[in-house]
Assembly symmetry: C2
Homo-oligomer: 136 residues x 2
């Protein structure tokens, strides 16, 4: 490590909870800037990179797509850090999340009811299989 305050990808991974392979992947697709390199070719990171990657991780935890994260990062890089843009992205994403919730809740209801109707094993004509359809 030639410079002070610089650390390798393993440390960044530890620090952020993001998989090493995933960090390299993010760099490859241009979500993260290309890291500086040591003489031997090791990627070198600094505190700022930790902050950036934590930002990415939190956004991912909220379910934002990598494309959204890319845009959010760009917005956060602007001086003003105003709500402009960011709010629209979040609102659109919130819509999707709510739509998925509706679907999942429906699945949950049907599955729970079907499982409940199921016997202990020996019962013929399983209601679960029946609900999926007769195979002729």
């Amino acid at each position: 490590m030639p410079t002070k305050d610089a650390f390798a990808i393993g440390a960044l991974s530890e620090e952020t909870g993001v998989n090493i392979e995933t960090i390299r992947y993010y760099e490859r697709i241009g979500l993260l800037r290309k890291a500086a390199r040591s003489a031997a070719g090791y990627r070198l990171y600094r505190a700022g990179d930790v902050a950036r990657l934590c930002f990415v991780r939190r956004a991912r935890d909220l379910g934002f797509s990598l494309e959204d994260v890319r845009r959010l990062l760009a917005l956060a890089d602007r001086e003003s850090r105003s709500c402009e843009g960011a709010k629209e992205i979040a609102e659109a994403h919130l819509e999707e999340v709510r739509a998925k919730l509706v679907d999942l809740r429906q699945m949950e209801r049907v599955l729970a009811a079907t499982v409940k109707a199921c016997g202990r094993g020996a019962v013929p004509d399983c209601p679960l299989l029946g609900s999926l359809g007769r195979l002729t």
Copy 2:
């Protein structure tokens, strides 16, 4: 079409609501048996295939993986069609669905709160971007 009661992939797709490409995909991965062929090489289907594919579609609608669907199909093909096996598959899947629900609900809560805290556009220091983290 050499035989009566046989129809081509387009009709099967219409009948079941499953995309043509998806049907071919299911056949390729062995989820559906290889279809009979006309002299010219067209796939030929019958009523039984409609039932089978509807079964698959319903299971997919409930969020079962293709691997689960494969197992459920095998269970449904057995004479007894007992609950044995099927119930375990469904219960495991229900667990996953519930876990996803927990995650999604959490996302929804955080997102909704953050969006609500967001201003109309000109406000600096957007709380949404702030909640994701400061970039140094």
